[in-house]
């Protein structure tokens, strides 16, 4: 038995897990997303990361970005290192990629604000 707090939504259900890996039995969740999260936590934990990237524009020194889909939890700091190498030099729009397929993880780093485009 293992207890796990769901981080999918603000409800924050405390779930109880029985068994191992993909065959884990989940209880205490209020929805199906909770069960999916529990299985993913037991097999390959994933997270979203949100951060900023440097720009060449003094009016907007950093631009908020995030990964377009979740990445493995143990790759968070590797992805941060990649993002920190980049400087945005064009006035890009919200949703535009800054790095495509970062570290071959299948996720892009995308701008989450249109502030450069205003």
């Amino acid at each position: 038995m293992k207890e796990l707090v769901c981080i999918v939504c603000p409800r924050g259900c405390t779930m109880t897990l029985e068994g191992e890996g993909k065959d884990v039995k989940v209880s205490g969740n209020s929805c199906k997303r909770g069960a999916e999260f529990a299985v993913s936590e037991m097999t390959e934990p994933k997270r979203t990361i949100c951060t900023t990237v440097k720009t060449a524009f003094p009016d907007v020194p950093v631009l908020p970005v995030r990964v377009s889909k979740e990445i493995p939890k143990d790759k968070i700091f590797d992805v941060m290192a990649e993002i920190n190498k980049v400087t945005v030099e064009k006035r890009i729009k919200r949703g535009e990629p800054i790095i495509k397929d970062v570290l071959g993880l299948g996720a892009d780093i995308i701008a989450t604000s249109g502030v450069l485009d205003e």
Binding site: I7, C9, P10, T51, R66, T112, V115, E118
Partner: protein, 419 residues
């Protein structure tokens, strides 16, 4: 800018944007006033995700959530003025005269009704009475967030966070991602203030320790903070002598609560509820002053922006429909188990058939029942597996079905340990 508007909305964050859009959709002339140079309010610097799960069923970052409303606001060509402060509001025979100061100078604009969407501000070091010198390096979590996320300047290499409010937890993760060391999060209360999921995804994921019943009792340093003294506290939150320890750090980041910002509203004579620290309102979110509405974090501090937008829409819609009418108000009296309940009143001369009630419990409660009693008789109940103070609850209630009149006593209660 025109000389007169139907509705003036003060504040261009998520509550104000939603209020302005809704009032405009009702066919009214609307002006939105914002003191910063861009719309979006605090969401501009809240670059983490998790916004909009209730409203859009998507995990958006703060800027993405705000820009959905900002895009709609611009498309609808609603009048607005940024870098503009409201310095004076006068009640007139018909409506209000609002004095604005901007780079264009001083102007006075008329309005039939007003929406206060002025948000909240953070409690500071002075308000939590920390002793010692006054070195640089003591920030509120929001200030640290502003430096990191908008200015691109990391404000610390090694820090202590006091208070387990959500912004503090979010900043613990954010600073760690950017390479700073977060020694720990210290909370004077015996339970965390922030959402449970944030304890997990912001602290546990990054091995940042959380110390409950601990507080910062002293700061050290001449020009820059060099260390803080941490003490354990007793159940009355008083520091216990002999438990002091010194922790070296270059920053102390405070996440010790938010206070609705209502100086402008209070200047007009709007009555404040000491529990929410925001205006006492009726089901239309109208304050004690006719034609003055309140929403978002100015009304009460929300944990989810989705509800901020929702209350903005309610206030905007009612401000647009506002015409002077006699009030017939009764109190919604909340028992001691509640930290607060919004709205605080119901106006029986208005529609109360779809009234949204927001509430928080004072303590963590298991297996409880929320009840509404009219003259001692139960007229509504809802079961909850648990209630936690950091997690606000929301209900939509048809109060008209209770057949209320001026003599009705409406009491809200929470029955604990119900089977």
């Amino acid at each position: 800018m025109k000389k007169n508007y139907d509705v003036i909305v003060i504040g261009g964050g998520p509550a104000g944007l939603a209020a302005a859009i809704k009032a405009h959709d009702s066919g009214k002339a609307v002006l939105l006033v914002e003191r910063e140079n861009r719309l979006g309010g605090i969401l501009k610097q809240c670059i983490h995700d998790g916004f909009g799960l209730v409203r859009f069923k998507e995990k958006l970052s703060g800027p993405e959530y705000a820009e959905r409303f900002i895009d709609e606001f611009y498309e609808k060509k609603i009048d607005y003025s940024v870098l503009t402060f409201v310095t004076r509001i006068e009640k007139k025979e018909n409506g209000f005269a609002v004095t604005l100061v901007s780079r264009d100078g001083v102007t006075t604009v008329g309005a039939n009704s007003l929406v206060f969407a002025t948000g909240c501000r953070e409690r500071t070091a002075k308000q939590v009475a920390i002793h010692g010198t006054r070195p640089a390096g003591v920030f509120t979590a929001g200030t640290a967030q502003h430096f990191t996320n908008l200015l691109g300047e990391l404000p610390t290499k090694k820090c202590v966070i006091l208070g387990s409010g959500d912004i503090g937890l979010i900043m613990a993760r954010r600073l760690t991602l950017e390479g700073a060391e977060v020694v720990g999060v210290y909370e004077a209360k015996p339970t965390p203030s922030g959402l449970t999921r944030n304890i997990h995804q912001c602290l546990h994921d990054y091995n940042i320790p959380l110390y409950l019943s601990h507080t910062v009792t002293r700061v050290f340093g001449a020009d820059r903070l060099t260390a803080v003294e941490i003490s354990e506290v007793d159940d009355k939150m008083n520091p216990i002598a002999g438990t002091e320890q010194i922790v070296e750090c270059d920053a102390l980041i405070l996440s010790v609560g938010l206070i609705p910002e209502n100086e402008l509203a209070e200047g007009l004579g709007v009555k404040i509820d000491p529990r929410t620290k925001g205006p006492a309102v009726n089901g239309q979110l109208m304050t004690s002053i006719d034609g003055v509405f309140s929403c978002g974090n100015a009304l009460h501090v929300n944990d989810l922006v989705d509800y901020v937008s929702e209350s903005g829409e309610t206030a905007g819609e009612n401000a647009a429909a506002y015409e002077k009418k006699e009030r017939r108000e009764i109190d919604l009296t909340a028992s001691g188990e509640f930290l607060y309940v919004v709205p605080q009143k119901l106006d029986l001369n208005r529609d109360n058939s779809r009234t949204t009630v927001y509430f928080r419990s004072r303590e963590i409660l298991d297996k409880c029942v929320f009840k509404i009693k009219k003259d001692g008789q139960e007229v509504f109940k809802k079961k909850y597996p648990f209630l936690r103070p950091p997690e606000m609850e929301k209900l939509v209630i048809d109060f008209d079905s209770f057949k209320l009149d001026e003599s009705s006593e409406l009491k809200l209660e929470i029955e604990v340990n119900a089977e």
